[in-house]
């Protein structure tokens, strides 16, 4: 078979897979929400509610598709398309697995392998805000516009910290290719072990990038009615919501590739040895790696939901303070500490950054007397 066709099939599979995962994320979201609130969640459509996404899609398609009279019609349609497009594009460079051996050719389980892989992801993700922005603008609704502006400013401020926290990883790997980053974590040396602070910053920023709770300020019922998608109905709204779930899956994949070893798993060399070095054995080993990657990514999808149903939404100024005053300085600190570590060839050195923070916290807690902690006042309970 021609390598072109194999690649085309892989791209289609990745495409379908991210859509499938996003589809069932909507079900899982409601299920997780239910379980965390001591109720069973959707369980009417199909076994355990498994047909729920189909029912939702049916509802979305058959609802009235309404475009406000004063809206900019083409931009209004373009908004959700852009959101969906950018969400789907970014999965192209994620290495879902090692290589497949077909007809003596080694084919990477990845949409495209480019040496600027992570830059591709960032470029596309930063374009994602256009979907929100265009949608909010085209609605010709003040609240939608406010939501869109919030989304834009939030994405800009968090992308900085996202990029900076990633630089430490790139410094350690010496490559922008996601596959190289994954391969450098081969043999248990996952980046989470060397970049604890970077990971926390990256994860926080990923939440903000996906507009997920606690940073889901673009959509805020209390003050913005619905946020940027207030005027959207039917499948256009569906596309926006769906794009959020695709984004969530893609960022889970990126997190597991950058910090949790991607398709690497413990004892993978022994497994690969046992399976043999012929084409079948190699392909099976790749498949196991693929499932390892998938398990990690799905865990992070769960993690996204877990956080969503735990934390309340941040206030806008809190969000901005956290982004500009905490995460960006912290990620710069992380870069400096990692750089010092690399200079002396100490991979574990970035734990020093964590140590500094813990020490500062401990000193403050120790030096601040309890009595000085303000007046206690009585407030009615409930």
């Amino acid at each position: 078979m021609d390598i072109f066709w194999i690649k085309a099939i892989i791209i289609l599979v990745i495409f379908g897979l991210s859509l499938f995962v996003a589809m069932y994320s909507t079900w899982a979201e409601r299920k997780v929400a239910g379980y965390m609130q001591d109720r069973p969640g959707p369980n009417r459509a199909g076994w355990g509610g498994l047909l729920q996404p189909l029912a939702d899609a049916g509802k979305m398609f058959f609802k009235e598709d309404f475009i406000p009279a004063q809206a900019n019609k083409w931009l209004f349609i373009a908004g959700p398309c852009l959101a969906m497009l950018t969400a789907l594009l970014s999965s192209a460079v994620i290495p879902f697995g090692d290589t497949l051996r077909i007809d003596g050719q080694e084919i990477q389980v990845q949409g495209i392998e480019v040496n600027i892989g992570i830059l591709w992801v960032f470029g596309i993700v930063s374009l994602g805000v256009y979907g929100v922005m265009v949608g909010g603008w085209a609605s010709n609704n003040k609240f939608s516009l406010l939501g869109a502006i919030r989304a834009a400013s939030q994405n800009i401020s968090y992308e900085l910290a996202l990029g900076l926290s990633l630089i430490a990883v790139i410094m350690m790997t010496g490559s922008l290719s996601v596959r190289d980053i994954v391969n450098s974590q081969h043999g248990g040396g996952w980046n989470i072990l060397f970049q604890p602070l970077g990971f926390v910053i990256f994860l926080t920023c990923a939440f903000a990038e996906c507009n997920r709770t606690p940073f889901d300020l673009p959509e805020c019922e209390a003050e913005l009615i619905g946020g940027y998608h207030t005027e959207y109905s039917s499948m256009k709204l569906g596309f926006y919501l769906f794009a959020e779930y695709v984004n969530m899956f893609v960022s889970s994949c990126v997190v597991s590739a950058l910090y949790f070893g991607g398709f690497n798993y413990p004892f993978m060399d022994k497994v690969a040895e046992a399976l043999g070095n012929d084409a079948t054995g190699h392909n099976i080993a790749t498949a196991i790696g693929f499932f390892a990657f998938f398990a990690k990514a799905l865990f992070f999808v769960f993690f996204f939901m877990w956080v969503r149903w735990t934390l309340p939404r941040f206030r806008y100024d809190q969000l901005m303070n956290l982004g500009w005053k905490s995460l960006i300085p912290l990620s710069i600190l992380n870069i400096i500490v990692t750089g010092i570590g690399l200079m002396f060839n100490l991979r574990w050195f970035s734990w020093v950054a964590v140590g500094i923070i813990v020490a500062v916290v401990a000193i403050q807690a120790a030096t601040k007397p309890k009595a000085a902690r303000g007046i206690l006042e009585a407030a009615p309970v409930r």
Partner: protein
Amino acid sequence: MQLTNRAKKIDKSEMTLAERMYLPAIAGGMAITLKHFFKKKPTINYPEQKRYLGPVFRGHHILKKDEAGRERCTACGLCAVACPAEAISMVAAERKAGEENLYREEKYAAVYEINMLRCIFCGFCEEACPKQAIYLRHDQFVPVFMSRDEVIYGKDRLVEDMSSRYLREGWK
């Protein structure tokens, strides 16, 4: 001013750095939600699973028969009089010879109707009944109706079925 003694001391002082990092609190909160994730759910899956409504629940009306299968109702009309919603109406008739196994007394209700749109399930009818003929079941709701001609419940829907008698003590 304190109106109740249910008050809680609140610390409004500035947060320490550890608190401002949020992370310890977030981890604590996530531990709580995860604990709930694995908890047994108290949900009752209603149409499949029904809970015991209690012996005092007032539901679907029933016109009782006695042990021999004879209707107890004598069409005295006390239930209709007691009914605050005026939902009950009936037409009395005289028992003919040979109908002794159908009706217990000489007079019976030829027509007995309850308008379920009017009924407020107060239970006054069962309190008023001197013959212990009408009861409100404690184990059954009145089913949902979709059109107005379904709402007048006649004897066909009210008289007790002898093969499955309604016994208040027997239902647990």
